[in-house]
Amino acid sequence: MKNTFIARNPSVLWFLAALGLFTALVTIASEATGAGLISTSFVKTLGKTLCLCLIAIAMDVVWGYCGILSLGHFAFFGIGGYSIGMWLMYARTEIIVTESLAGRTIPATPQEVSDAIGNQIFGVVGSSEFPLIWAFADSFWMQMAFVILIPGLLALVFGWLAFRSRVTGVYLSILTQAMTLALALYLFQNDSGLRGNNGLSGLQNLPGMDDVSQATVSLAFFLASAAALALGYLLFAWITDSKLGNIIQAIRDDEARVRFLGYHVESYKLFVFTITAIIAGIAGALYYPQAGIINPAEIAPIASIYLAVWVAIGGRGRLYGAVLGAAFVSLLSSWFTGGGAPNINLGFYTVQWVDWWLVLLGLSFVLVTLYAPKGIGGLFDKLVRKS
C-alpha cells in the first residue's frame, strides 16, 4: 500500500528528500553544532518559516483541494500558540516564584504560591486572579491536548453550523473572517483572561532549561518543526491521494453533482475543515515558542488573508506549491522589511523598501492572480511536462 502511494506520488519523496537535505544543512551550519555559519536568530526564522509552511499546506488542502476559501485558519494557529504559551508562561513563572519564596523562614502555602504566580502573570492587566481557562495551565500534557482539542472542537462546531446551512463560496469566506475577527477582538480585552493586547510573552525561555543555550533550543525547535512539516505533508499527501481525496476534489469542482451522486458532502467538508484546523493548531504551538511572544494582533483577519496569498502565489492544489509560496513570500517579506533589500534612488525620490514592500506585494499578488493563476507551482508543471 505504502509503496503504491509513493509510486503514484513521486513528488512526496522528492519533497521529503529536499526537506531532509535542507534540515541537515542547517543543523550542520548552526551555532549549536559549532559551525556557526547560520546565526541563532536566523535558525529561528527558518524554524518559524517551516511552521508557516505547515499551516500553508493545511490551507492548501482546505482551499486548493476542497475549494473552501477559509479566511480564519490563522485563528486556529493562534489558539495553538496560546494553549502552549499558557503552559510555558505558567511553568516558568512558577519556577521564578518558588525560587523567590524559598528564602523565607516559613515555607509558603500553595495558596501563596498560586497568588504570587497570578500576580506576576496578570499584574499587567490589573488583576491577580486566575481565570477559569487557566485551570489546567500547570499541566503540560493537558495544554498539549488543548493544542489539538480546542482548534479541532471550534472548527467542528463552526464548520457544522456553516456547512449544515449550506453557506458556501464567498459567504463562507466572510463568515470565517468574522470568526477570526471576533476571536481577535475578544482577546484584545483585558478581562479575556489572556492578558489582553499584552499577549503572552517570554515563550522562548523553556521552563527548567535555563542552562541550555538558546542556540540549542532554537535548533531543537527547528528540527521539531521540520519533523512536523514532514509528517503533516505525508498525512495530507496520503489523504488527498486516497479515495477520500478524490471526493474532496470532486466537491471543489462541482459540489451539487457530488451531492446528487449520493455522497454526504457536509461530512467530507467538515472532516477537511477540522483536520486542517488541528494541523494549524499544531503549527501555531511550534511557531510561538520560537517567536517568543503571542498577542491578539497575530490572529487579526489580515493574517489569514496573507495565508491565502502564500498559497495562491505558491500554486493551489499542490502541496509543495503551498510550501514554496509560504517559504518564498515570508522569507522575502522579512528580507525586504528587515532592511535587507537595497533602497532604490530615483533621484527625486528614494524608494525605501520598508515602506514600499507591501505595495509591491499587493500589486504582484494582483498580477499572479490575473496572469499566473497556478502560481509558482505552475512553473514546475511546465518543466515536468517538457522533459
Partner: protein
C-alpha cells in the same frame, strides 16, 4: 399710568443717590463695626449697605470677605488693597483710583468665619437683585452649586422685582429645590418634592438624592426613634462589615494571613514556632494552629476566626438611616425619585435608540456602496474600505487648500465621488473584468489592491491620524433633556444616509442606467442581445458603488479620524451588513445596518465598559443569524435568487 411709574422710579433712584453719595461715608458712620466686626454687630452695617443700593457695594463686600480691605490708621478710611511685599496697591472704593503706598500705616481687616458668612449672604442678596442680568444669573448658578437654607428667604424676596422671564423661571425652580430640601413646613416640602417627580434633570435628581442621603450606623438593636432606610445584610461581605466594627472599637481587630505570617516569623524558637517545626508550616491550617499556640502563651493578640467574625456580626445590627428625621418626607422623596428614575429609564432608552440609529446610518453609509458592487454585481471588493479611506483623504486634502470648512465640504463631497469613481472604473477595467467567472480570486486580487492602497496612503500621509474638521454649524449637540442628546454630525450623517438611500433607489428603479444594471445582473447574455453593452454597464455600476464609498468616506471622516487603516476597520462590518441584510437588495442593506447598529448599541448598554466585547458578541450573533437565515433578512425569491 406707565409714565407715572417710570418717573416715580427715577425719582426714587435720584433720592437714594442723593441721600448717600458714597460708600466711604456710610462705612465711616460705622467705622468701629467695619474695622472690628463680630457676627452680631455687623448686621447694622449690612442693613445700611443694602439700603444704600450703591453699585460699588458688591465689589466691596467681595473684597471684604476675601480680606482685601485695608484701613488707614490715621484717617480711618477704607481701601481695597493688594499686598505686594512691603508695598500696597490701594484702590479707592468709590472712584476706583489706584495708588501705590508703603504698607506701614495701614492695617488689614480680618473678618472671622461667622462674619464672612453674613457677608456672603448679603452678597447673594445684592447679586440676586443686581440690575445686570449676567450677575443675577451667576448668583443663581452659585446657589445651584452650593445650596443653603439661608438662601431660601433671599430668593423669595428677590422674586418680586424680577422682570426677566427666564431668570424668574430659574428663580422659581431654585425656590422649589430649596423648599424641597430646607422648607420649614412639612406640607410645603412634600408638595415641592412631588412637583420634582416629573423632572429628569440632573439637578432635580441631585436634590432628591440629597434629601435621601443616608448614613450607615451600628447598634445592638434596631432603634425606634431613627428614620431607618434599610437594614443591611452583613452576610454579603463579612470582612468589610467586620472592619467597620473594628473601626468603631466594637470588636477585636482581625488578624490577616499576612499578620499571622509576620507574627510567626518574629517568634521562631529553635526552628519551631509554638512547638510546630517550620517545615510543617506550609498550609493555612498549620500556621493558624501555631499562631493559636503563640496567642495562648500571650505573645500575640488572639486569632479571630471566621466563626468569631460571623458570631460577632450576628450581635449587631447594621442599618442605614436617613439624615432627614421625618419619614413622611423621605417616603415622598423616595416615591418621587422612583418615578423620576422610571422616566430617566425611558429617556435613556430613547437616547440609546438615537445612538443606535446614528450607528446604523454610519454602517449603512459604509455598506451602501458595497450593496451595489457586491449586492448587484456579486463582486467581492476587499478594497472597498480603501475607497472609503480615499474619499476621507480627499476631504482632508481639500481642507488644506480651502480654509472655509463649509465650502471645502461642498467641494469635497463631489470631488471624493469623482476620485473614487475614477479609481473604481480603473480597477474594474484593469483587474475585475478578467475575474468575473472566478469570484474567490476577485477577493484575493482586490485584497492585494487593498494592502497596496493602504500602504501608499501611509507613505503619503504618514501613520498619524489626520483631522477632517467639520464646519462650525455641525459642531455641538441637539440637547433635548439632560438625558437625551445627539450631536449635529450624527444627525447630518443620518440625513446623508437617507439621501443616499433615496438617490440609489431612484437610480436603480427609475433611470435607464438602473434598468440596464438590473438587466445585466439578472442575465448578462440576454441583456447583451437586447442591445445593452454589459461591459459598459458593469463599469458604470462598479464606478457608482465606489463613488458612493468615497462620499461615505468624507462623512465618516467628519465623525471619526482619518487614518490609512480607517477603511479596514469598516470592511468586515460592511460585508456583514450586506450579507445579513440580504444580497442584492438595497432595503436589505438598510435592514442589515439597522439590525447591526441597534444590536451593537444594545449589547454595549448591557456591558457599557466594554465596546470590544460588544463587537465580539455581535459578530457571534451574526454568525448564528446566518445559520438560520442564510439569504439574509430580505431574501430574494424566484429566479433572481439563483446563484
Amino acid at each position: 399710568m406707565r409714565r407715572l411709574f417710570l418717573s416715580l422710579a427715577w425719582l426714587m433712584a435720584f433720592a437714594t443717590s442723593a441721600f448717600a453719595q458714597d460708600l466711604q461715608s456710610i462705612l465711616q458712620t460705622h467705622a468701629e463695626e467695619v474695622a472690628k466686626p463680630s457676627r452680631n454687630s455687623v448686621g447694622v452695617v449690612m442693613d445700611d449697605l443694602v439700603a444704600s443700593g450703591l453699585p460699588q457695594t458688591t465689589a466691596f463686600l467681595e473684597q471684604w470677605a476675601e480680606r482685601n480691605i485695608w484701613q488707614n490708621d490715621e484717617t480711618g478710611s477704607f481701601f481695597i488693597g493688594i499686598e505686594d511685599g512691603d508695598d500696597l496697591t490701594l484702590t479707592d472704593i468709590d472712584s476706583g483710583e489706584e495708588t501705590s503706598v508703603s504698607a506701614d500705616g495701614y492695617s488689614q481687616l480680618r473678618p472671622n468665619g461667622g462674619v464672612r458668612r453674613v457677608i456672603g449672604t448679603a452678597l447673594v442678596q445684592f447679586q440676586l437683585s443686581d440690575p445686570d442680568p449676567e450677575r443675577r444669573l451667576s448668583a443663581l448658578e452659585s446657589i445651584g452649586r452650593r445650596a443653603d437654607a439661608s438662601q431660601l428667604p433671599l430668593l423669595i424676596a428677590s422674586l418680586e422685582g424680577e422682570d426677566d422671564a427666564a431668570i424668574r423661571a430659574r428663580k422659581e425652580q431654585l425656590i422649589n429645590f430649596l423648599t424641597a430640601r430646607f422648607g420649614e413646613n412639612t406640607d410645603d416640602r412634600i408638595a415641592a418634592i412631588n412637583s420634582l417627580s416629573k423632572d429628569t434633570s440632573v439637578e432635580a435628581r441631585a436634590v432628591l438624592n440629597q434629601i435621601l442621603a443616608t448614613e450607615v450606623k451600628i447598634a445592638d438593636a434596631l432603634p425606634q426613634d431613627d428614620n431607618v432606610a434599610d437594614v443591611i445584610n452583613t452576610l454579603s461581605d463579612h470582612t468589610a462589615y467586620y472592619a467597620q466594627l473594628v473601626d468603631a472599637d466594637l470588636a477585636p481587630a482581625m488578624v490577616s494571613s499576612g499578620d499571622v505570617l509576620a507574627a510567626l516569623e518574629a517568634n521562631v524558637v529553635e526552628g519551631r514556632v509554638g512547638g510546630i517545626p517550620l517545615a510543617q508550616l506550609n498550609s493555612e491550617d498549620a500556621r493558624n494552629a501555631a499562631y493559636v499556640e503563640l496567642a495562648a502563651a500571650g505573645t500575640v493578640p488572639p486569632l479571630v476566626t471566621a466563626d468569631d467574625v460571623t458570631a460577632t456580626l450576628d450581635d449587631f445590627y447594621f442599618y442605614s438611616a436617613y439624615d432627614e428625621p421625618d419619614a413622611a418626607i423621605t417616603d415622598a422623596a423616595r416615591a418621587a425619585l422612583d418615578s423620576v428614575e422610571t422616566r430617566v429609564g425611558w429617556s435613556q432608552f430613547l437616547d440609546l435608540s438615537l445612538d443606535g440609529l446614528s450607528l446604523a446610518s454610519i454602517y449603512f453609509l459604509a455598506a451602501i456602496g458595497l450593496a451595489i458592487t457586491f449586492g448587484q454585481m456579486g463582486v467581492i471588493n476587499m478594497a472597498h474600505g480603501e475607497f472609503i479611506m480615499m474619499g476621507a483623504y480627499t476631504g482632508y486634502v481639500v481642507q488644506l487648500f480651502v480654509p472655509d470648512y463649509t465650502i471645502s465640504l461642498l467641494i469635497a463631497l463631489p470631488l471624493a465621488f469623482a476620485v473614487t469613481f475614477g479609481a473604481g472604473v480603473a480597477m474594474e477595467r484593469l483587474v475585475i473584468r478578467h475575474l468575473y467567472h472566478r469570484p474567490l480570486e476577485t477577493l484575493l486580487a482586490t485584497f492585494g489592491i487593498s494592502i497596496a492602497l493602504q500602504q501608499i496612503a501611509k507613505n503619503i500621509f504618514g501613520t498619524q491620524a489626520r483631522p477632517l474638521t467639520s464646519p462650525e454649524w455641525l459642531s455641538g449637540a441637539l440637547v433635548i433633556s439632560d438625558v437625551i442628546q445627539i450631536s449635529y454630525i450624527r444627525i447630518a450623517i443620518f440625513v446623508l444616509a437617507l439621501i443616499f438611500l433615496c438617490v440609489l433607489l431612484y437610480i436603480l428603479k427609475r433611470t435607464r442606467l438602473g434598468l440596464e444594471v438590473r438587466a445585466v445582473t439578472q442575465n448578462p447574455g440576454m441583456a447583451a442581445s437586447m442591445g445593452i453593452n454589459p461591459d459598459r454597464i458593469n463599469m458604470m455600476t462598479f464606478g457608482l458603488g465606489s463613488g458612493i464609498a468615497g462620499v461615505a468616506g468624507v462623512s465618516i471622516g467628519l465623525y471619526a479620524q482619518v487614518t490609512s487603516e480607517m477603511g479596514a476597520n469598516y470592511i468586515v462590518q460592511s460585508f456583514m451588513t450586506v450579507v445579513v441584510g440580504g444580497v442584492g437588495s438595497v432595503f436589505g442593506t438598510l435592514a442589515g445596518a439597522g439590525l447591526i447598529g441597534f444590536l451593537q448599541k444594545g449589547i454595549e448598554w448591557l456591558n457599557p465598559s466594554n465596546t470590544l466585547a460588544a463587537q465580539t458578541y455581535m459578530i457571534l450573533f451574526i454568525i448564528l443569524f446566518i445559520q438560520f437565515r442564510p439569504k439574509g433578512i430580505v431574501a430574494l425569491k424566484g429566479r433572481a435568487a439563483a446563484d
